[in-house]
């Protein structure tokens, strides 16, 4: 049947048919339109606060757009060219990855082990499970300020403790690696328990009879963990790794508040300035919105690339 034919047919049929009662027409409209209305809030919200800013940022990134300047100047891809030649940007990208690896790596390993522990027969199980979530409930800002104090270069508790066991104090602000460790420890403190609970939920969904069969076959606890638990956790691990990639590469609050003077430089020589912190500095200190938008877009693409890469790696590694 062709489109034209059916169209004509329908038109004629409608003309010929007596007008349905008003009530019926309304309910017809209801079945056709209201589903769209029901799902509309998400799409309208997403379009206004998700999609529009995303595209508008791309538009702004093509201009020399300074806050308060009279007329933004169209410069094409110039911002991106400057960005790829900008040492500070590459330094920020390195810092972001370094902090990401130092946090997400140990975090996921510990989260899986923690989940395995919580999955065992413990006394006061719920109490333990609630306990690991406590750091997540605490305010991020309060947490960061307290960690900033603990990692104080001159009067911090961490250096005092290191001194007790004979290690020279580390300048957590001046040293690149030291500052990354300090910031990664804040991230780990906050997120390990949260990820452990997600992994725990997945562990409990693994059918008991698989384990029982393995037990009958004489598999050791270690063997059962590596041959049953881990492979069956794969979808959850992929989820955890991808979300922590997205979160880790966008890290901002911790390095921002770790700076004792409250600036956005991320240390005296940008030792721990992350990409988002550099973005913030360009936008709200340098007031260069075009450049900041270019940083935002490059970061967006980097996050997608890395999350995709991790997705494939995880899928292949855990068979």
């Amino acid at each position: 049947m062709t489109a034209t034919l059916s169209k004509v047919d329908r038109g004629r049929a409608q003309e010929a048919r007596p007008r349905p009662p008003r009530r019926y027409r309304l309910s017809n409209l209801d079945t056709k339109v209201s589903p769209y209305l029901f799902v509309a809030p998400f799409f309208v919200l997403f379009a206004t606060i998700g999609l529009f800013p995303l595209l508008y940022t791309a538009y702004v990134s093509l201009f020399d757009w300074e806050v308060g300047a009279d007329e933004p100047l169209f410069i094409g891809l110039e911002n991106y060219r400057t960005l790829f030649e900008d040492d500070q940007f590459w330094n920020a990208l390195f810092n972001t990855f370094s902090i990401f690896v130092l946090s997400s790596g140990p975090q996921i390993v510990v989260a899986v082990l923690l989940a395995a522990l919580l999955n065992a027969n413990l006394r006061a199980r719920t109490g333990w499970r609630m306990g690991v979530l406590l750091p997540y409930v605490a305010s991020l800002v309060a947490l960061t300020i307290i960690f900033g104090n603990l990692f104080g270069p001159q009067y911090g508790l961490v250096n005092d403790v290191l001194g007790l066991i004979g290690i020279d104090p580390i300048d957590w602000q001046a040293s690149t690696f030291g500052s990354h460790v300090a910031i990664a420890s804040m991230v780990n403190w906050r997120w390990t328990g949260y990820n452990a609970l997600i992994v725990l939920a997945a562990m409990q969904a693994i059918p008991r009879d698989v384990y029982e069969a393995a037990l009958v076959d004489g598999a050791s606890a270690l063997r059962r963990f590596f041959s049953i638990t881990l492979p069956l956790l794969k979808p959850t691990l992929i989820f955890v790794i991808v979300t922590s990639t997205i979160g880790g590469l966008q890290i901002f609050t911790e390095p921002k508040l770790f700076e004792p003077s409250g600036g956005s430089g991320g240390g005296t020589e940008h030792q721990y300035q992350t990409v988002v912190l550099y973005l913030y500095q360009s936008a709200f200190q340098g007031l260069d919105l075009g450049y900041a938008s270019a940083i935002a877009w490059v970061l967006f693409l980097v996050v997608i690339a890395v999350a995709g890469l991790n997705f494939f790696l995880t899928r292949r590694a855990v068979k």
Binding site: V67, P153, Q154, Q173, G263, G265, G267, T268, E269
Partner: protein, 426 residues
């Protein structure tokens, strides 16, 4: 029942209308025919009682204050709304640290000489007005308060080092920067474990602001690497750091606060408002140990203080300028000083008995008002600030000095500072 719903609706509609009016900044006429003036301030300007007084004298004016706790978000908001083209208050407070950024956007503010009431030129200290006058002579703001610099020092630590510690005798140590750093050498040799000053940036910034030409020359050309005076200051300060005169505590950090409590440094560059900071950080256990004297190396200096400005966005610019002019008159600023301790920038207010008789118990009942009034009059001229001046000071030079304190070589740090300044100035 039905009537109640209608009235609720009307209420909601009016509220919405009023808030949009407020949001668009230049709220002109409120429902009762009064002119509504909004004024955006940060920290404490001490104006709350003055608004009531002004409203009583001008029944046709209603004042709404938008108060932000801290300066940083206030100015971020100011510059963002300037970019957006709407949303600013009729009167906006601007702090001295943001002056260079503000002056580069002066075109979006009213020339108060043009729209404001006639004010005698000598109401303010000359350097205060000079700093907010454009090259072609436009007055972009009325001065409110200032932060004249004096020297704070720990009496007990000075005694320990065998240095004079009474406010008169100590002045010899603070005549020039050379004398200051020489005394520092003497001090650290005698009192181990205690530094001479808190951080290099704090001393360097005061030295820098005394220079005739700063990071920019008057044609807005960046001269950081050609102005030899800047490099000379840099060398002096980093040499003192190398000798151990710096406590290496970044200002306003938690460790800096701890340094105050533990008495880890013996002197502090002290604008008038710093006395309160010292008192709250050093705490009651150190009461009477800190002193302040009306001397400052190479004359005087200023750190802090604000202006009232009227953006061109304002729909009631003339009336706003009138209010701002009234608020910044000596009589009113003295009242603000009494309310919140903001140190006035008006010449006549500096001779007011209320100010001259003010004492500070924490600093051994010193006559702080007289002391800082003397210091304010020592300041000669305002240094010309180029477009990115504030940013260079805050985000380039200060961190570079701190990196020297963290162990970087002064030459490398200087190179980084020059490069950073060139990038910021672009």
């Amino acid at each position: 029942m039905r009537h109640r719903w209608i009235s609720v609706l009307i209420c909601a509609a009016t509220t919405a209308a009023v808030t949009t009016a407020c949001g668009s900044g230049g709220a002109s006429q409120s429902a009762d025919g009064k002119t509504e003036l909004t004024i955006a301030t940060f920290n404490e300007f001490g104006y709350e009682e003055l608004f009531k007084e002004y409203e009583a004298a001008h029944p046709d004016v209603k004042i709404t204050q938008r108060k932000t706790g801290q300066g940083q978000p206030h100015h971020q908001n100011l510059f963002t709304k300037l970019g957006a083209g709407s949303g600013l208050a009729d009167i906006e407070g601007v702090e001295e640290g943001y002056l260079s950024q503000f002056m580069s956007k002066a075109g979006q503010f009213n020339d108060l000489k043009e729209i404001g009431p006639k004010i005698e030129d000598d109401r303010w200290l000359a350097w205060k007005t000079q700093a907010i006058t454009t090259k072609d002579g436009k007055l972009m703001g009325y001065g409110t308060d200032i932060g004249p610099l004096a020297m704070c020092y720990r009496k007990d630590l000075f005694e320990k080092a065998g240095l004079p510690s009474d406010p008169e005798g100590v002045k010899a140590l603070f005549t020039t920067w050379d004398a200051y750093f020489a005394a520092g050498d003497q001090f650290i040799a005698k009192v181990p474990g205690v530094a001479w000053f808190d951080s290099a940036a704090q001393v360097y910034n005061a030295m820098h602001n005394q220079l005739e030409t700063g990071y920019y020359d008057k044609s807005d050309k960046l001269v950081i690497d050609s102005n030899t005076a800047i490099k000379a200051n840099w060398n002096t300060v980093t040499a003192a750091v190398a000798k151990g005169q710096s406590a290496r505590l970044g200002a306003f950090s938690n460790e800096w606060n701890t340094g105050f409590k533990l008495g880890k440094f013996a002197t502090k560059t002290c604008p008038s408002w710093m006395l309160g900071v010292v008192e709250s950080q050093a705490g009651p256990e150190n009461k009477g140990l800190w002193a302040v004297t009306d001397a400052f190396p190479n004359g005087g200096g200023n750190w802090g203080g604000s202006y009232l400005t009227v953006p061109k966005q304002s729909k009631n610019a003339k009336k706003a300028a009138e209010l701002a002019a009234w608020l910044t008159a000596p009589e009113q600023q003295i009242k603000a000083f009494k309310a919140k301790g903001t140190f006035p920038s008006q010449v006549k207010a500096l001779d007011a008995p209320e100010l001259l008789e003010q004492t500070n118990a924490y600093f051994g009942d010193v006559k702080a008002g007289t002391l800082f009034a003397t210091q304010a009059k020592k300041i000669k001229a305002a240094q010309y600030k180029g477009p990115a001046d504030g940013q260079i000071q805050e985000t380039v030079v200060s961190p570079a000095l701190q990196s020297v304190e963290q162990g970087k070589s002064p030459d490398e740090a200087w190179k980084a500072a020059v490069e950073g300044a060139q990038k910021a100035a672009k």
